[in-house]
């Protein structure tokens, strides 16, 4: 019988991230479908609070690695904790969220355990009692269903694919797992986290709307001149009022490196598409985008899509957007900002 181990790191406040709670749902459903036992493995400075929060998930056992050394995101200590938790639980299938921290550490853990890994899984089901994963290939342009006979099998689950576990907290009997921290494991030290101030943050993974700015914002307008400063004001104004998350096409981001006038708040972190992110939001509004297939990739997981641009035959919008408004995005966004107050 399979033993499915849900793995998570605690956040700075001792809680579990929403992405981890979603991965717990995936692990729980898989365990139910496979008739497997479910275990929970947590690591961080102190896992007691996180264990209590998921005490009602139906797991038969809880394991924890608690120490200040495991509070920070560092490959060597994270991998050591995960390896120890997997061995303590005797896990055959390991399920975790694809947070930056887990995505970095779990593949190495799979290698240490002599197992295999499939990352960024978007679906996880039991078919005839066998676990089957779904994930994208070639930047989500192809989707595959797969399974493996090799064990342990590690899986990281993409955010937004499962409902977050929301059971009532309770008391969990956590088996403490000891992991010695050697000098070799602390050659790396976390210095700081650089994050924009809350009112300046334009990447908002939990936003209901993704607003994508295309290269058209910096092109010459009807009067023959570009209006980049105004474009910046309109975009930031809308983001401030709507609390949408900002994405950008590659061409617009690349302009910065090519010495052209750019929107100063855009970085490669905003980029969606082939070499950017494939964010998940219920709605997406694209403006001044004239993307081809690579651009569409960035919108793979956007629910409802609308676009504003001047080309009714736009290759991105036709067949990809639900609604295409053929209009001047400057005028439309100016009016929207005015109406939003």
């Amino acid at each position: 019988m399979e033993t499915i181990l849900f793995l998570a790191h605690t956040e700075a406040d001792g809680s579990l991230a929403k992405a981890s709670l979603e991965a717990l749902t995936a692990a729980k459903e898989l365990a139910a479908g496979c008739g497997a036992t479910l275990s929970v493995g947590l690591f961080g400075a102190d896992v007691a609070g996180a264990a209590a929060a998921v005490a009602g998930c139906g797991a038969t056992s809880y394991y924890g690695v608690s120490d200040e050394a495991f509070a920070v995101s560092r490959y060597a200590t994270d991998a050591a904790a995960l390896e120890a938790l997997a061995k303590a639980a005797g896990a055959t299938i390991l399920v975790a969220a694809d947070t930056a921290r887990m995505s970095r550490a779990l593949p190495g853990v799979a290698a240490r355990l002599g197992g295999r890994i499939d990352a960024h899984v978007t679906g996880l089901t039991a078919q005839d009692g066998q676990p089957v994963a779904m994930r994208g290939y070639y930047r989500q342009r192809l989707m595959a269903e797969l399974t493996r006979s090799a064990r342990p099998w590690c899986l990281t689950v993409s955010g937004g694919c499962f409902a977050a576990y929301a059971g009532a907290p309770g008391a969990a009997a956590v088996t403490a797992v000891s992991v010695p921290v050697t000098e070799a494991m602390t050659r790396t030290a976390v210095k700081t986290v650089i994050a924009p101030a809350a009112d300046e943050q334009t990447i908002r993974p939990d936003a209901r709307l993704l607003f994508v700015a295309g290269a058209g914002w910096t092109k010459k307008q009807a009067d023959g001149a570009p209006h980049v400063p105004e474009a910046g004001e309109l975009i930031l104004g809308f983001l401030g009022k709507s609390k949408a998350s900002l994405g950008s096409s590659k061409s617009l981001v690349d302009m910065g490196g090519e010495g052209e006038t750019v929107l100063p708040f855009l970085t490669h972190l905003h980029q969606v598409g082939q070499t950017g992110a494939t964010p998940r939001h219920p709605k997406g509004l694209a403006t001044c985008c004239h993307g081809e297939e690579p651009h569409v990739v960035g919108w793979r997981f956007i629910g409802e899509r609308r676009a504003v641009n001047l080309d009714a035959a736009c290759g991105w919008a036709q067949g990809k957007a639900d609604v295409l408004y053929v209009a001047d995005a400057f005028a439309v966004m100016r009016k929207i900002n005015e109406l939003l107050g």
């Binding site: 930056a100 050659r187 709507s242």
Partner: protein, 266 residues
């Protein structure tokens, strides 16, 4: 000084239409060998960063280690070789995305182990943090484990080397933030995101110098035979994305703006 090994595969040009097919060797792409290929985009960034670092750290050297069919690699190298100085190491095998990342890591490990004069105490393993084919973001970590390297970083956009050889690394984390870490020095594994450098212009002189070593490297490439049955694919398909697009034109801006606001609020 560093010995920098950049791991990078080849992928179909992103503008190509892809269609999955199942052949005798398992799943692949229709006309895969006919599709124009490029060096994986994120691995390309890793190569540019490696070349930049090697230029600034005297005595450093860059190797590009790639698993792929020799003939395709030769085509891709005609362009890549003009971008930055490096020595090519080839594992002659499949480059497709459906090959298991552990199998790819094993092939890369074997190729790296065969590099003469590689000093592992000075080793920096670079690569893209994900490929544009498999997209697992797992191969480098597995390779790092095989090489015994436990200082690993993914989604790297900036590396600063101190006078004492220490490293300061900026990694992408959730919500548009960066995690800044320091490491006492090599060896380390760095999976690059886009980095900070633009694509270098083609330099024919660099290309000529590289090609003198690339051709022999291709000729003496050792075959790599990853287990293509490591993953049991139940099926591969194209996602259905076709939508019925409603075109709204010749409509006053006020009406469009209000409709968008109503939609956002709904």
């Amino acid at each position: 000084m560093f010995h920098i090994v950049v791991c990078g595969g080849i992928v179909p040009d992103p503008l190509q239409t892809l269609e999955p097919v199942k052949g005798p060797a398992g799943w692949g792409l229709k006309n895969e060998l006919m599709l124009p290929s490029i060096l994986d985009p994120w691995a390309s960034h890793a190569l540019y960063e490696a070349a930049h670092l090697a230029k600034s750290a005297a005595g450093s050297k860059v190797w590009l280690v790639s698993l792929g069919p020799k003939a395709k690699l030769q085509q891709v190298m005609m362009t890549v070789a003009q971008k930055a100085p490096f020595e090519l190491v080839v594992a002659d095998g499949p480059a497709g995305g459906f090959v298991d990342c552990s199998e790819v890591a094993e092939a890369l490990f074997t190729a790296i182990e065969g590099i003469a004069g590689l000093d592992k105490s000075k080793l920096l393993v670079f690569g893209g943090w994900q490929s544009a084919s498999r997209g697992a973001g797992a191969t480098l970590q597995i390779l790092g484990e095989k090489l015994g390297i436990v200082d690993q970083f993914q989604g790297v956009d900036k590396l600063t080397v101190g006078a004492d050889g220490s490293l300061e690394i900026m990694e992408r984390i959730e919500g548009g933030a960066y995690l800044v870490s320091t490491c006492t020095g090599a060896p380390a594994v760095l999976g690059w995101a886009t980095g900070e450098l633009p694509e270098p212009p083609n330099n024919p002189q660099v290309g000529m110098a590289n090609m003198r070593l690339i051709m022999p490297a291709l000729q003496k490439a050792k075959p790599a035979k990853p287990d293509l049955a490591a993953i049991d694919y139940r099926g591969v398909s194209l996602p259905t994305q076709k939508r019925e697009t409603r075109i709204v034109k010749d409509t006053p801006v006020d009406v469009i703006a209000q409709e968008i606001i109503d939609w956002i609020a709904s």
